[in-house]
């Protein structure tokens, strides 16, 4: 099978974004099958954006925010994101999309190895899940 998943990741630029930068500086290799977009805070990303991403063709959505409780640059953005995605995951099934296709990870900025590892794990998991079928088994 020559199907390749392409994931999209939204990183809070204060923590996960810096971790991604350090991963680069330290040449920590990880799967290229993810495009990472820096945003001011993971609290900006709404479930609508996530659903949008799946509609556009994303195979998985990764969100990297600040490690709770005290590291969020904007006080509570990480908690807000967590609550929203907890609910979203519950709704995913109704769209026919496996909830495992969304992943939230928390970071403090030096955790670049964690970033690389979680991305690899995630890409592997998505590879196992295969392309989105919309709930219809092929």
């Amino acid at each position: 099978m020559d199907w390749e998943p392409w994931l999209i990741g939204f990183l809070s630029k204060w923590t996960a974004g810096i971790a991604a930068e350090s991963a680069g500086v330290n040449r920590v290799r990880y799967s290229p099958n993810i495009v990472l977009i820096n945003v001011p805070c993971c609290g900006l990303i709404s479930p609508i954006h996530v659903v949008d991403a799946f509609l556009q063709g994303a195979d998985g959505v990764y969100i990297g925010g600040a490690l709770p409780p005290a590291n969020c640059h904007y006080k509570v953005g990480n908690f807000k994101a967590f609550k929203r995605f907890y609910l979203l995951k519950k709704l995913m099934k109704q769209f026919g999309i496996e909830p495992e296709r969304i992943r939230l990870e928390w970071f403090v900025s030096p955790q670049y190895r964690k970033l690389a590892k979680t991305i690899d794990d995630f890409v592997d998991e998505i590879k196992k899940l295969g392309p989105i079928t919309g709930g219809v088994e092929e």
């Binding site: 930068e21 680069g24 099958n33 990472l36 977009i37 709404s46 953005g77």
Partner: protein, 652 residues
């Protein structure tokens, strides 16, 4: 808007960097350029060996001019490295930096995907596409400016608060100093001498108190507390509750007749209960303001004092006042308290009179103190010959204060030394776990104390303190270095209690700052922003931020004042206009965003949400909360996020 640039149609240029071989060895740069040219809105794309070099920058400037670009995407390293470099280049060509973006295809791509050139290239193309999609809809906003009120509020009149207030006042900034006690001075005025130099605490601090009291730029409110804070950096509105002093400080001649006449006697908090005072009293001789004060709580309103006052300074009907002030910056310096010794009943604090805390011992040393500087047993006033100090009395203990209080090792050494200088034939026993002397001259000071005959440091813990039938204290403990148990008969036991923050929850809420797990005020960054809080314009100084000695409190106070000055010397503040914005057409005034914003930056006005430009930090948290999509982050709107996603997946 800058001249000469036409923003009507997107004309974007993409500049792809090789970074020598850093990028080009992994990513097929030429292919990226080729693909970039196909992206909607892109009219120019090129690559170059070192984009950040002078020549590279010139390429961009030339392209903007020649190709009439109104948007620039640089695909190179990370913004933290070269955002500014290219922003300046772009601006020098007359283009706004808001129409420029740098994305990383090095740290985010070539450096981490060197094992897979094909997909690294594919990823780089997607990264560029996303950046182009984002920049296409970027608008150029005017920078946000706001007038700064050139006035500061300092909360807390201890050594830290006074220092900050004086630094600001001497720089010409009017300062409002709010102190909740009847006098300024804080804990330092209660101390005897100060380590490591052993200079008299009162002699050091009283000139400063006097200076604060008479400084033309300082308005002092004692017996006062801040009860409300609104507004934001550069423009805070505060409410202060001033409790009645009931004595006019301008009139009071300090004759003391009133206190002689007053029938009500209560314990004196200044001596930490080691003496009594009347309901009308002078906190201590050097108090600022220099005036008697009536203790509202204990005064029975009998009127005896009023009758004897020769100048009619007393007014028993005085009521509390609410004062309102506008300030540009706030410095929080409310200091510390000691841990409650009654939580250590095993040491008998609050049970046996001769078990005291370290501040009480300071009061026994001060010549002007309740015993006139004689060190005595509290129970019977007999001279104290043997004193046991217990260090880490609750500190570094998960059952009490898990942290090290930092100053207690030093003040115990000092107190032992002072004891020995007053009672040459006395014995001081000091139980310790570690002796921490991290400060200039501190280890030398400790060594000096160790040299004194009659001072014995015992490495170990006290298990229990009790009083025997003769009224002597018995201290039992362990010397871990010999492994032997020790039992000492003592006249006084001094608990070296730890510092806890003196910061009440309501004030924290009003200031909207955060605290650490122990309740100390939280700095933004322990190394790089130690006096800043998350709230712009609110700074912290002294022991309210964490255990500190006087030198550190003073240093930090000056640092906080200097940070405040950086703000207050500006006429107006400018910030990036990348904040949230409400589309009135779509807003139905539900108020959900108002509740979401962590900075209280959104208000409902005439049924619509309105974002306060200054308060908004641009976090975007409000965006997902809006059911109608009316609120958006400038230059990172929902539409732009949608376009970014579309672009990422639009590549083949």
């Amino acid at each position: 808007m800058l001249d000469g640039i036409d923003y009507s149609e997107p004309r974007i240029g993409v500049f792809v960097c090789h970074c020598g071989t850093n990028i080009a060895a992994v990513v097929d740069v030429k292919k990226v350029v080729e693909e970039a040219k196909k992206l909607p809105g892109v009219v120019h794309a090129e690559d170059y060996m070192y984009m950040c070099s002078g020549i590279g920058q010139q390429l961009i400037i030339n392209a903007i001019r020649e190709k009439k670009l109104n948007g620039v995407v640089v695909a190179a390293c990370t913004p933290s490295l070269h955002y500014e470099t290219f922003a300046r280049a772009v601006e020098s060509a007359g283009l706004s930096r808001q129409r420029y973006k740098i994305v990383s295809i090095r740290e985010y791509c070539s450096w981490v995907h060197f094992h897979d050139r094909k997909r690294a290239t594919e990823k780089a193309i997607r990264i560029v596409a996303a950046a182009v999609a984002e920049i296409r809809d970027n608008k150029v906003y005017e920078p946000i400016r706001r007038k700064v009120i050139k006035k500061a509020l300092v909360i807390g009149g201890g050594i830290a608060g006074m220092t900050a207030a004086l630094d600001l006042a001497n720089a010409g900034i009017p300062v409002i100093l709010v102190e909740k006690e009847p006098t300024i001075g804080g804990k330092m005025i209660q101390l005897s001498v100060t380590f490591p130099t052993l200079d008299c605490a009162q002699c050091t601090i009283t000139p400063r108190m006097a200076e604060v009291g008479k400084h033309p730029n300082i308005k002092l409110y004692t017996l006062s507390e801040v009860i409300d804070v609104s507004g934001h950096i550069g423009n805070f509105h505060v409410k202060i509750r001033k409790k009645p002093r009931m004595v006019d400080p301008e009139e009071c001649r300090l004759c003391g007749w009133c206190a002689n006449a007053c029938p009500v006697e209560v314990i004196n908090e200044f001596t930490r209960g080691l003496s009594k005072r009347k309901a009308i009293y002078l906190p201590f001789p050097q108090a600022v303001p220099a005036s008697f004060v009536i203790d509202e709580e204990h005064c029975t309103r009998c009127g005896m004092c009023v009758k004897v006052c020769p100048v009619n300074a007393i007014n028993l009907d005085e009521k509390e006042e609410i004062i309102e002030e506008d300030v540009g910056a706030i410095i929080l310096a409310t200091g510390y308290d000691l841990y409650d010794g009654r939580k250590l009943p095993e040491y008998g604090y609050g049970i046996y009179k001769n078990v005291i805390d370290s501040l009480q011992f300071e009061q026994l040393i001060v010549p002007s103190g309740p015993t006139k500087g004689r060190i005595v047993r509290i129970s019977d006033g007999k001279p104290a010959k043997r004193v046991v100090f217990i260090q880490c009395a609750g500190q570094r203990d998960v059952n009490h204060l898990p942290y090290c209080s930092k100053i207690c090792c030093m003040y115990v050494a000092k107190e032992a030394l002072m004891f020995k200088s007053k009672v040459p034939d006395g014995e001081a026993y000091i139980f310790y776990i570690d002796v921490r002397t991290a400060g200039k001259g501190y280890e030398e000071f400790y060594k000096k104390v160790q040299e004194i005959p009659g001072v014995k440091y015992i490495r170990g813990r006290v298990g229990k303190v009790w009083e025997d039938e003769n009224g002597d204290l018995i201290v039992t403990g362990i010397d871990t270095l010999t492994g032997e148990t020790v039992k000492i008969r003592a006249d006084l036991v001094v608990l070296a209690l730890g510092m806890i923050p003196n910061l009440d929850k309501r004030l924290v809420e009003k200031l909207k700052i955060s605290t650490d797990e122990y309740g100390f005020a939280q700095e933004v960054h322990p190394k790089l922003k130690p006096v800043e809080t998350e709230i712009g314009g609110v700074y912290i100084a002294g022991a309210v931020q964490g255990p500190k000695d006087i030198s550190e409190s003073v240093a930090q106070a000056s640092a906080a004042a200097s940070k405040a000055l950086q703000l207050l010397t500006k006429d107006e503040i400018e910030k990036e206009p990348l904040i949230a914005e409400v589309d009135r057409e779509r807003c139905d005034g539900c108020g959900l965003c108002v509740a979401t914003c962590p900075y209280s930056a959104i208000k409902l006005e005439d049924g619509y949400a309105r974002v306060d430009e200054i308060a908004c930090e641009g976090c975007g948290m409000c965006v997902p909360s809006c059911p109608t999509g009316a609120i958006n982050l400038r230059n990172m709107t929902n539409k732009q996020i949608h376009e970014i996603i579309k672009a990422v997946y639009g590549v083949r």
